[in-house]
Structures are given as C-alpha cells and as structure tokens.
C-alpha cells in the first residue's frame, strides 16, 4: 500500500517546527509531526490517515537524549526506544520505563520508533502510556506561543487523542524517580510476540517489611486511554505480599478494573479483559514487590 501524497518539511530547529505547525493550523491544513514514523507510516500506507503535510522533527538533536535532573529523569521526545533501553540512567533510575520499553514492538521498530512519538500517538494499547500515567510523568510541550507542561493524568484524552493542541510539539517527558524502596514491573499479556497488549499492567510498589506501603498501578488497553487503578493502589496499602495471605492480595487486585471501560476486539471482550486486568495486576504487584 502506498500513502497519499503530502508535503514535507524537515524542521531545522524546534522553533521552525513550531512555526510551520502554527502556520499550517492557521491555514486549516492537516499537518502532523513526524518523529520515527513507526505508527504513523503504516496508517498512511493503509490510507487510514490523509495529511496535507508532515513536519519531520527527526533531526532535532535538542529533542533527543536522556538526562538525570535530580528528582526526575528527562527523556527527550525523539529518544528512540532502543536508546531508552540502552540508557544506564533509565535502567537505574526509572526502571519501569525500561521494563515496558523492552516489550514495545521489535528491535527494528525500536531503532526508529521514539519515546515521545509513541506517547503522543496516545494509543491505549501502547505500552508506554500506562507507564507515564503510573509514574505521574509530566509532558513538556512547545508551540509558537511558548512552553507548557501537561501532567500525564491530563495528557491522554481519548483513543489516539492526546492533549497536544495543533501546533504543539512534545519536547520531552519528566519521569519522576520514586526513590529507594520501590520495585517495578510491567506485565504484558498478548497473543503473539508481535501483537498488541490484550491487557498490560505497569506497577510500582514500595514495600516496608513485606507490606505494601505505596503502589502506583496503571493499565494498558483497558479503555480509550490508559487507566490508573486507583482503587487497587489505595486498597493495597498494608497488604502483605508474602504467600501467607494470598487471598487478601487477590481480593484487593480484583478491584483493578474499577473505573475501566475495556474495549471489545478480536483478542478479548470487556469481561475477559476485566478478568485479565485483575490477574495481571496481582502478578505485576507481586513481581514488582519481589
């Protein structure tokens, strides 16, 4: 399949990218930012999307890289999944991001696909949105008007729809370090190695003497956006993770799908997804706490 024609602008700077996007918006044109293109190009090839132009930000070094900034790690939007995985900083300081990124697509796609691109794509079946939500990441966004910050809880608006306004470019994401005592896990359940998560669970758990003191849990593909499992987070406090009281953990994790509105598709109907969310949450919590 072959994409429909579009104009192409290779941005020489972030400012230029913002300016071009602003002009396009004024002209009422349908313009998108091209980063790695690993989600966008298949959509264009299948002609599921038609654009008047692409603004290629792929060469903007300022959008690339991982940086330890004290209480958080800043991950540039253009950092590829592969670079995220190779980053010592990520692996040591925000390991949940590494765990989830390792499950994204395959090596070749991870060479091209970018951290920011997959978040901006806002696919609830993607693995990274749940991580961003669980960790309360902050999205740093630039436009012609300047820079603004969007908390993860506001960033994912609907299916394939983020809080990015037309004319805005995602610069990077602040990924909070949770400090000592936290354990992490991303539990992904899918039909084949290539297929999207039927359900995924991003979990961060802080234990004190075998008992959960704090937990952060978000779910992949359990609604039009990633879903924070607040009920579980609350109920988990004080729950021991040892095998002695498995039933209590089970009951708590059975709250995982509260507030979710899972989709029905070829890989599962809502009831099955709700069930999976409960099982996988329990597993994610146990592994994160181990």
């Amino acid at each position: 399949m072959i994409p429909a024609p579009f104009e192409y602008v290779r941005a020489g700077s972030l400012d230029e990218a913002c300016r071009v996007l602003a002009e396009a918006e004024e002209a009422g044109e349908d313009v998108k930012v091209l980063a790695g293109g690993q989600s966008l190009l298949p959509l264009l090839r299948l002609r599921l999307a038609y654009l008047s132009a692409l603004v290629d930000v792929g060469r903007l070094a300022e959008l690339r890289g991982v940086e330890d900034r004290g209480d958080h790690v800043f991950v540039g939007a253009l950092t590829t999944h592969d670079e995220v995985l190779r980053s010592e900083v990520v692996r040591e300081l925000v390991p949940l991001l590494a765990l989830a990124t390792a499950t994204v697509a395959d090596p070749a796609v991870r060479h091209r696909g970018t951290f920011g691109g997959s978040l901006a794509h806002a696919d609830p079946a993607g693995d990274l949105p749940a991580v961003a939500l669980a960790l309360d990441c902050v999205f740093v966004v630039r436009s012609d008007e300047g820079e603004r910050e969007i908390p993860a809880s506001d960033f994912f608006v609907d299916y394939l729809e983020s809080a990015l306004e037309p004319g805005e470019v995602l610069v990077g994401v602040r990924v909070p370090k949770l400090g000592p005592g936290w354990g992490f896990h991303y539990e992904k359940f899918h039909r084949t190695a290539q297929s999207w998560a039927t359900v995924g669970v991003a979990a961060a758990v802080r234990l004190g003497e075998g008992v959960v003191e704090e937990a952060r849990i978000a779910l992949t593909n359990m609604g039009p956006t990633p879903v924070r499992a607040r009920a579980v987070e609350t109920a988990l406090r004080g729950v021991p993770l040892g095998s002695s009281d498995g039933e209590r953990l089970r009951q708590v994790c059975d709250l995982a799908d509260e507030g979710a509105s899972p989709p029905a598709d070829l890989h599962g109907d809502p009831a099955y997804r709700r069930h999976l969310a409960r099982v996988l949450t329990r597993r994610a919590v146990v592994t994160a706490g181990a």
Binding site: A4, R10, G37, R45, D106, A108, H111, R112
Partner: protein, 158 residues
C-alpha cells in the same frame, strides 16, 4: 521534490523523491536493489529489513526523505562475488530457509542481533527475531543458523 543523497551498498545516489516515497520503493523501483522484498504493509513481517546507519530498520516504514544523508546496507551488500557473509553461510548450512522470501530480512535482523549479543542464547535469538515472520521453516533452523552465524562472526574477528 526533495533531493536526497543516500548511500546504498557502498554506492552513493542522488535522487529527487516524492516525500511519500518509501525507502523500500526507492531501493527496489528506483535503484534496482530488488534483493530486499516487501511482505506486508504494517511493519509486521520484517522481510524488508535493512541496515540504516548501522542498525536494523524496516524499510517499508521509513520514508526515503528520512534516509537523506544516510548509509543503507541491504542483503545485496553483504557479499561480494562468491564471498558470503558468515550469517549467509550459516543460513545455508543450517537449512534456515525454504522459499527464501523472509531470508534477506531475517539475515539483516540476525546480524543486528549479533551486533548486540555476540553469543546469543536460543531465547535471545527468538526474541531478537520477533519482528521477522517466516512461514516455511517454523524457525527451528533459523535459530540454529543465527547461533552458528554468531560463532562464525566472532571467529572472524578473533
């Protein structure tokens, strides 16, 4: 139309391309590098895998304009004349191909895998090839070949 410069298998080309031209179509239709085939339109099958600036990519999911200034290595660039790349030899030796349509992509993905993991376990090979589909072999011999190729590649550099 954008004008790009791209080096493919050590030959430099200057081409005017439509922005929407896929890298794989540049290779196949414009440059005659038909060794890299196309197997799908969603980036799943990996048949079109090439090296772009030293790392594996699916050339159906890259625009030619994105490759401007880059170096591409295809399966055709791995061997010169009768001398094959160790991974090509390993695929032959282990009977890791039948129809051979996935083979160029498999070999490129395998070389990329070994670049990162010079002595991969069976599990590592399977994980490294998850983006490349084969319909003929059931992968058993491909896994054997990649591990053998890794040994040969290591031996060559000793």
């Amino acid at each position: 139309m954008p004008r790009i410069t791209v080096t493919v298998d050590e030959i430099t080309y200057e081409e005017e391309v439509e922005p929407r031209l896929l890298l794989v179509h540049l290779l196949r239709d414009r440059l005659g590098r038909t060794g890299t085939p196309i197997g799908c339109d969603t980036g799943n099958c990996g048949a079109c895998t090439v090296m772009l600036d030293g790392v594996s990519v699916k050339s159906c999911s890259v625009l030619a304009v994105q490759a401007d200034g880059s170096e591409v290595v295809t399966v055709e660039g791995l061997s010169s004349g009768q001398e094959w790349h160790p991974m090509q030899r390993a695929f032959h030796a282990e009977h890791a191909l039948q129809c051979g349509y996935c083979t160029p992509g498999m070999i490129m993905a395998a070389i990329d895998l070994v670049r990162n993991d010079p002595d991969p376990s069976e599990e590592a090979v399977r994980r490294g090839l998850e983006g490349n589909l084969c319909r003929c072999t059931g992968y058993t011999n491909i896994v054997r070949a990649v591990r053998r190729g890794a040994q040969e590649m290591a031996g060559r550099h000793d």
